[in-house]
């Protein structure tokens, strides 16, 4: 009767099963809430978890029923360490929280301590402009790593090389100015540590000149690539209401439509003098977060160009011998400088008692420090408001009901950095 081979079972129910007893589940919730749930531990050594994150997934087939991220694998007690260091020494450990955006961490901390000291108005303009310049450079480098690793998670290897190449160009500049590629601790309370080296601005000009072409390359690789868009669009949707309720900040919040950017809302340093847009989208999915970050890289370069044009000559540290280290040549010539140097290095400076919350817009969102001083030369309490700690938490909400493969997309699009999540 048919051309099927005779070893195939006949059509119909397998022998021994009463067709009346077979219940076909129809409603999706019946399938999802059945007894088929299996627990799958993703991480802490999974390549797509960007460090050491474990997500315990309750899955039914390919569908995620529950998602519980387990963090703390990188906990190093940075807050405790910072409370036992001098104010300027604390900058070195605070660098290492969000190790992809170290300068923005220090930026927030320095602004807070300067408010406690009451020297906010006396920070030289060149120092403020350079802080903005380096914060924006950090934003681009951080987004480069995000883009590269996010693409690798989704199976595209080449964007990583393009992104890291661009990042290295910027890190070379950061290294030339601060002495270190990764955790530069370039900022100090009261300004920045040393002016730019000779010829640095010309190198920056060269970077500015080639940036648009490099950015176009990055966009061409992924933005309209159908494989990429299929994986990203409508994956991990967060509504504006949920984004606010889950304390999302930065690109994750702006991709949901709320154009909340601390650089615009509470302009610090000289951000109110530059023209830039806050890239915002309303879709709230992974693709929207991808586009917002790409646009942010271009806006960051726009700010860098304006800082470059407006950069003023002058001092880079506050003129206050009790806070700023004296210039090195002065130590050899003046007794007072030597004494100040000795006192600042051996016991630091004291900060008036009080508390302050200071936040800046980091690459991942609001990086805030609630700093309490008791008048001593060490902070009493340094509470960090880590952007990716809060952003990552939302994975519990958005992963449920999606496919396992999409969890990787969502994690990447939230861009967590575990130095900051675990501290």
């Amino acid at each position: 009767m048919s051309n099927l081979p005779d070893w195939l079972p006949a059509a119909g129910n397998p022998p021994g099963i009463d067709p009346q007893a077979v219940v076909t589940p129809t409603a999706p919730e019946v399938i999802a809430r059945g007894d088929n749930e299996m627990v799958l531990s993703m991480g802490p050594q999974h390549p797509s978890t960007h460090g050491v994150l474990q997500v315990v997934l309750g899955i039914d087939g390919e569908e995620v029923v529950r998602a519980e991220p387990e963090i703390g694998y990188l906990h190093t007690g940075i807050e405790k360490s910072a409370e036992n260091l001098f104010w300027n020494q604390a900058l070195t450990v605070i660098d290492r929280m969000d190790y992809l955006g170290p300068l923005t961490n220090n930026f927030a901390f320095c602004l807070g301590v300067e408010r406690l000291l009451g020297i906010t108005d006396r920070i030289p303009r060149r120092a403020q402009q350079l802080r903005v310049l380096f914060a924006e450079m950090t934003r681009i480098t951080s987004h480069c790593i995000w883009l590269g690793t996010h693409a690798i998670d989704l199976g595209a290897i080449s964007p990583f090389f393009y992104a890291v190449d661009l990042r290295e160009n910027i890190l070379d500049l950061i290294e030339a100015a601060s002495g270190a590629r990764m955790n530069p601790t370039y900022l100090r309370v009261g300004g920045i540590n040393g002016d730019l080296p000779e010829g640095w601005l010309e190198r920056l000009d060269a970077l500015i000149a080639k940036f648009p072409a490099r950015m176009r390359e990055l966009r061409d690789l992924l933005q309209t690539n159908p494989i990429w868009t299929d994986r990203e669009i409508d994956v991990g949707v967060i509504s504006a209401e949920d984004a606010v309720a889950w304390s999302l900040t930065g690109p994750a919040l702006r991709a949901s439509g709320v154009a909340y950017d601390l650089r615009k809302a509470y302009p610090y340093s000289t951000y109110d003098e530059y023209e830039f847009d806050v890239p915002t989208r309303t879709e709230g999915d992974s693709y929207a977060r991808f586009l917002v970050r790409l646009d942010e890289m271009e806006e960051a370069m726009r700010i860098i160009r304006q800082v470059r044009k407006k950069l003023e000559p002058g001092a880079v540290m506050v003129d206050d011998p009790s806070i700023a280290l004296p210039p090195k040549p002065a130590i050899a010539l003046s007794m007072e400088s030597l004494i100040h140097h000795f006192k600042l290095v051996s016991e630091g400076f004291r900060v008036p008692a009080g508390d302050v919350y200071s936040a800046v817009e980091g690459p991942r969102g609001e990086v805030g420090y609630y700093i309490v001083s008791n008048g001593d030369n060490r902070p009493w309490r340094v509470r960090t408001r880590p952007a990716s700690f809060y952003n990552l938490q939302a994975i519990k909400k958005i992963a449920t009901g999606n496919l396992i493969a999409d969890v990787v997309v969502m994690l990447g699009s939230l861009d967590p950095v575990f130095g900051e999540v675990d501290r």
Partner: protein
């Protein structure tokens, strides 16, 4: 410039003082654990829709000992442009918490309070009632103590107890040319044995 030597150094920052803000915070409210949830719900109704941060601080000699600090930002719950948003209001709620006192959880108001409350429980030992999942988050589940308390040492005794292998002292090695051949092999074996011997034989190995 103010005379900085006049600043008092004390471990107790005044518990009841509400200092004028020197940051972007518009209102500072000090409250107690039994009223904090009502205060927070009231603020949320006033438009403070985002729980920006939830942290704690230990003042050790102060009574109440801890502060749980909420930072709230008045963000809209729908898509908003930069111009409409302007400069959102910010509030800080300080809740004094004594040792062993339980604070009501804010998870019902903001789901994002889940992890920070777990972190405060983990690192300060402050418990939250009605929390859906109160367990350690940063430290291992079997950890003892709460590291961010001021009476918790910066370095634990575990660091001193780390076993170190007893190395051969210099007197054992002839002070001429480096040994070669069979002599070197026997020395290497001796050192290897000492490194892998139990701690009880340490004194013998040194002599």
């Amino acid at each position: 410039m103010a005379d900085r030597s006049a600043y008092t150094v004390s471990t107790a920052v005044d518990p009841t003082a509400v200092r004028p803000p020197i940051d972007d915070v518009n209102e500072i409210i000090r409250t107690t654990p039994d009223r904090v949830l009502a205060v927070l719900a009231d603020l949320k109704a006033q438009g403070y829709r985002q729980l920006t941060d939830l942290g704690a601080a230990d003042y050790l000699e102060r009574s109440p000992r801890f502060d749980v600090i909420y930072h709230l930002t008045a963000l809209p719950a729908q898509a908003t442009a930069v111009a409409e948003l302007g400069r959102p209001r910010r509030a800080r709620v300080l809740c004094g918490v004594g040792e062993g006192v339980t604070v009501p959880s804010a998870v019902a108001l903001w789901p994002s309070a889940n992890w920070p409350e777990r972190e405060i429980f983990d690192l300060f030992g402050i418990t939250f009632s009605e929390h859906p999942d109160l367990r350690r988050i940063q430290m291992p589940a079997d950890w003892e103590g709460h590291p961010l308390r001021k009476d918790y040492p910066l370095r634990g005794p575990a660091r001193d107890r780390t076993p170190r292998p007893p190395f051969a002292s210099k007197t054992n090695v002839p002070a001429q040319m480096p040994p070669t051949g069979a002599v070197a092999e026997s020395l290497r074996r001796q050192i290897f044995e000492r490194m892998h011997r139990n701690g009880s034989d340490e004194s013998e190995a040194k002599s």
